[in-house]
């Protein structure tokens, strides 16, 4: 299965509004987004979130971040760090985050596998 198909499958999870695979420098490698989201905005902001957090964690001697979960009043975001990229999943505020997290982690595992096979 291709990465694009994996993201589309993840997007079918109830409450998931957007799923994208981003490169370390903040570019969208693959995406499946609701029209409400712009891919460059999601990619840029996710890159900012992850870079800022990682820099601060490393300065504190805590190492890098593997997952960032954010709850806001109108939505939720889940960022999973992969080897040289990251998977970002945006959900609405009513989404079952546990189910979405499980699906996202499964997708991340399959993306890693795809990337390894492609090498």
């Amino acid at each position: 299965m291709k990465i694009q198909e994996l993201l589309e499958e993840l997007r079918r999870t109830p409450g998931v509004k957007a799923a994208a695979l981003l490169t370390a420098d903040g570019l969208a490698a693959a995406e499946s987004l609701d029209p409400a989201f712009r891919s460059d905005v999601v990619a840029g902001l996710t890159s900012f979130l992850l870079t800022t957090t990682n820099r601060s964690l490393r300065d504190a001697g805590l190492g890098g971040c593997t997952q960032f979960e954010l709850h806001a009043s109108h939505g939720r975001a889940l960022v999973l760090a992969l080897d040289e990229s990251c998977l970002v999943v945006m959900c609405d505020q009513f989404a079952d985050l546990q189910a979405a997290r499980r699906e996202a982690q499964d997708t991340a595992r399959r993306i890693r596998l795809c990337a390894r096979l492609a090498r």
Binding site: F37, F48, S56, G63, F68
Partner: protein, 368 residues
């Protein structure tokens, strides 16, 4: 209900649920809640209203929906209690039913319940206390002398039946000093002090009431004066009491933080407001990098959520080789912990939210 009709309603419910998810607005939540109310599913209607109020806290329609759902739940509970009372009457059940009827504002049903209660349990002062409470509510609302008389009559009857009833004495004592009958009120409060030895609040109240001006002992005349002037002689304890001091709020937050730090797996905990921070756990000093990290996470999350137009970031959980970093934010208040992988995250986040909410409440009280 006909099967086809039922299916149609379920279909409509699903459509409205979908709409509330996709286009959340007060009217979509109200429409959905209204269908639940029509189906007498008050619990679901209450949940919908609460969910809507999280997003639209100022919506009057959603507040009305919540009120309507709660009234429906109370009516259901009252009907259930009625059935249980017919089978096996108990004072506890009568009290619960009477309280529900007070909440529903059903004075006729309340009278009937209390009458039945006092006939079945003539030695129980409870019926008179509840009736007194209902009359007191009406008196404080309308300042009508007649309601005041009735309240005094019911509460005095309760005190006569059970001289050791602290609740009736407290209500009566408060009513009397508020209308200006300070000396009679003090008699009741002194008896109450003997009943509740070592109660610091009561001692404070007694000292405060003793300093108030006494307007006499003619309760009927004093009630008449209240009705005539449209105001009570003295304010209530709650209004006259000094507001919580900063030290007290701080102590409460410190206790809450200590509670969070005691959760198994929690290593570091902090509460930050502006530039000040309270800390618990393995934190060396104010320069501990943990404090900087949680501030950075909170700021980054805030910016991310605002720019993506998903509202305000309230909770963030960051995982890594160090375990979890949990951050709860509201306005300029932040509570955060670092915990091990096995820690109960739900509990940690719940406690952090409570801590933030507590501090906001304290700020509101101080600012009032």
């Amino acid at each position: 209900m006909h099967l086809v009709q039922r299916m149609k309603i379920w279909k409509e419910l699903r459509r409205l649920e979908q709409r509330a998810h996709e286009e959340p607005s007060p009217s979509t939540f109200v429409d959905l809640g209204q269908v639940h109310i029509n189906l007498e599913m008050y619990g679901k209607a209450q949940a919908v209203a609460e969910q809507g109020l999280v997003l639209f806290p100022k919506s009057t329609e959603l507040r009305q929906l919540l009120d309507c759902a709660r009234r429906g739940l109370r009516r259901h509970r009252a009907a259930d209690l009625r059935v249980r009372l017919t089978r096996s009457p108990q004072p506890k059940l009568y009290r619960e039913l009477a309280q529900l009827q007070i909440d529903l504002g059903d004075a006729t049903a309340l009278q009937a319940t209390c009458k039945e209660w006092s006939v079945r349990f003539p030695d129980d002062a409870g019926a008179w206390i509840v009736l007194g409470q209902a009359r007191l509510l009406a008196f404080y609302r309308d300042l009508a002398a007649r309601e005041g008389h009735e309240a005094v009559r019911c509460l005095e009857r309760a005190v006569q039946m059970d001289a050791a009833d602290a609740e009736a004495r407290a209500l009566l004592g408060e009513l009397l000093y508020r209308i200006g009958a300070v000396s009679i009120s003090l008699e009741h409060l002194r008896v109450l002090e003997r009943l509740r030895r070592g109660d610091p609040e009561l001692a404070g109240l007694l000292a405060r009431v003793a300093r108030l001006a006494d307007h006499g002992t003619d309760v009927a005349a004093l009630l008449g004066e209240v009705e005539e002037h449209g105001s009570l002689a003295h304010p209530s304890v709650a209004l006259a009491a000094p507001r919580p001091q900063g030290d007290e709020s701080l102590a409460r937050i410190r206790d809450g933080l200590a509670q969070v730090a005691e959760i198994p797996g929690v290593r570091k905990a902090t509460f930050i407001k502006g530039s000040r921070a309270l800390v618990r756990g393995a934190i060396r000093d104010g320069k501990d990098p943990f404090l900087r990290v949680v501030r950075v996470i909170a700021k980054a999350a805030h910016r991310f959520a605002r720019r993506l137009e998903i509202g305000c970031a309230s909770r963030s959980v960051v995982d890594g080789g160090f375990g979890h970093l949990c951050v709860c934010v509201f306005g300029e208040v932040l509570a955060a912990v670092q915990c091990d992988r096995g820690a109960d995250l739900e509990r940690v986040l719940g406690e952090l939210q409570e801590l933030v909410a507590d501090s906001l409440y304290a700020a509101e009280v101080e600012g009032a």
